[in-house]
Each structure stands twice: as structure tokens, then as C-alpha cells.
Amino acid sequence: MKELKVSAIKKGTVIDHIHSEEVFKVMDILKLEKHPEMTSIAINLGSKKMGKKAIIKIENKFLTKKEVDKIAIFCPTASLNIIKNYKVAEKTKVRLPETFENVIKCPNPNCITNHEEVDTQFRVIKKTPVLMKCHYCERIIDKDHFELVS
């Protein structure tokens, strides 16, 4: 039997195949510090594909589409396991949607979205590495400039 380095959960979500440095971003996206139930995090686990990886197991939480989209932006390698009764009920990889509405801020200080009350809109123009184009100011931005709408 496979030894579990992090305790299993009864029901909830396991986010696998994330890079260790992406853990805090996922915690931030899902606001895990406010999640009332147990969350286990393991970093620097051995992985054939990734060398080292991290896993987050969240008891009693199922992600919304918006949450999954946000994770896809920052952790494009992540996979999601939905756990029911200690078993994997569904396994999916995150996928970048073609467009994002009101998910990330435009880093261009002269963009109208930073001055008027308007939802940001971005279109993915390249998937690896991720490049997105602002629908309004047409600025192309990379991962280093992605910042979540608060």
C-alpha cells in the first residue's frame, strides 16, 4: 500500500502537481486561511514529471469555476482530485480558459480599468509561457505582472 505523506481527506479537493513556490498563491486564491476545516500542505515532494512538487489537500471544499480559472493562471501544471468518501471521484487538469473577466488587474496604470468602475477583461494569446492581452488598453502582460482582482 502506498504510504501517504500527508493525511488523507474524507471529502474535498486535492490540488496536485503544483510547484512548491506556487503554494502561497493557491492559498491566497482560495483564501485557505479562512477555510474552517483542515488543510494539509506538503512541499518538495518527489515527482517523476516535475522533480519536486507540492500538494494541497483541503477538507470539505469544492472549487468554483472562477477559483479553478485563477489557479490555471498561476499554476498551469496543477491537477485537481475531487475526493468523496476517501476515494478519488474525479480527476482533472486545470485548463486556461480563452478569456478572463474580472479575475486579474491590468498592471498598466494608464489603463481605463484602473480609473473607472469596469470589469477587467483579458484574452489569453499564448499558453506557455502565459501571455494575456488587456481588452481595453491592449497591453500584453506576462505571468510576472499578473495580480488578482481583490
Binding site: 489603463c111 481595453y136 491592449e138
Partner: protein
Amino acid sequence: MVFKDRDVISINDFSKDEILYVLKIAKNLEQNPKPLAKGKIMAPLFFEPSTRTRMSFIAAMERLEGEVDGFASSKITSVKKGETLWDTVKTVEKYTDLIVIRHPLEGAARLAAEASSKPVINAGDGANQHPTQTLLDLYTIWKTKGGLTNLKIGLLGDLKYGRTVHSLVTAMAHFNPKFTFISPEALKMPDSYLIMLDENKIQYTETEEILPAINDLDILYVTRIQKERFPDPIEYERYKGAYRITKNTLSSVKKDLKIMHPLPRVNEICKEVDNTGHAIYFEQAANGIPVREALIALVLGKIK
């Protein structure tokens, strides 16, 4: 190709065929003016001053026998009282058939178009887009060279921040050009445009020296180098002098080289060049009128 009720926000929204169609309509209207905007009102909303673009739009509308009612500065409007762009446009669209907007913020024209049920034409949104300038640049090249395909085009000056050169490069990429980018190292064409050219297999060279780079060009597009772009004023003075086009600079260029400039120029083209036969920057400015006439008539649905 449907232009009726369409917004003109970015040159990126135009296909190759649409660009050529606008140029063809501009030529028809330049040769045979028609009262295509009779009974229609255009509202130029200029949230920042721009004398020549505003005058050119007004002249275009008046030549089509339409009427104009707008404002030339946000200082005299409710914007000063704190009204949002969205609300201003929502109000103005009720009084008018067409909105022309210039705004210091990037993306403002796109937002205005979303607020308005009437067509919106972008007359410049910050450092982003100025599609009517790009179309008049293309019209100028098309008219003077008899087409847009397979031309050798040099762009000189501030290629990093220059809105006009970015849009021109994007639009010309449809027509298999060969580009020569001449700029100081600090003001080079941004990588995102070079990647786009590589992906489209468009040839280009980059250099800091004007000569001999300009000697085999068909078009030389000159832009102003702005002092505020340089952290060191001594460096600015050096480039300002080095990038000045004089009669002497042109001694070995092709006979039919044409020199363009979006204007205003400061000192990057010496006045003695004006009557060499190479200079077409004043015709270029004049070409703004038929191009804007064409766009107005098209989005009003008066030409199909």
C-alpha cells in the same frame, strides 16, 4: 464586410481586405465629394487637446455636409465635476449619431464604444491606438506608391513608445514589407512587435545609424524623439543631432524615396527637406480628411 454601426477603436480590429476597402472609399470621396452625412450629427469628445486631429475630423464631417457638436477639452465639461466617462458617453449618445473620442487613458475608446449604441471612432487613447492616423498613413503610402505590397519601409526615431509606428508596423505586416528600424538602443522597437514580425516571417533589420540604412528605402517614416524619454539629457542632445534629416543625409537615397512624419515635427526633419520631392508629410496630414470621411460614411451606413 459590414461597417454600418461599427466602432473604429484599434487597427488590430481591421483585416487586410477591410483596410484596402477603407482606402478605396477614401480615394473615391477625395475625387468625388458627396453629402453623405447630411442630417447627421458627430460629437467630437476631446478629453485632451489635439488641434489637428480634431480639426481634421470636423473638416471631414463638414465636407460630408454633416453637423458637429462636441467639446474640445474636459475642463469645460461635467467631467471636471467628476462625471465618469461611461456616464458622459451614455448622455452624449442620445444627442448624436456618431461619437469621436480622444482620451488620455488607454482603453477609454473601447469603454466608450461599450457605453454607446452609436458608433464610436477612436481619435487617440493615450499611448495605445490612433487608428485613423494609421489608416491615413496607409492611405498616403498606398497613394504615393500605387500599392502597399513588397515595400522597403524605414522607421526612425522613438520606436519604443511611438504609438504611430507600432500601429503602422502591425498594419503593414499584412503586405509583406521589409522593415528597417533606426533608433537609439534605449528606444528600440519592443520585443513583442519583433516576435509578431518573426511569426509572420516579415524581414527586418535594426540599426542605430541612419546611413547607409535609408539608401534603399521606399518610405522613411520619421518620428519625434521626446526629451522626457531620456534619463540623461546629454544622451538626448546626442541623438537629437544624430537623427536630424537634412538635404545632405538624402544625397544617396532612391529618387522616389518618400519621407513621412505624423507631425508635429520639432527639428528631426530640416525645413530644407520640405521642397526636395521626398517630403510628403503635409500631404500625409491632408490625407486625414478623405480617410476620416470614408470612415464616417461607412460607420453611418451611407456607403456599404
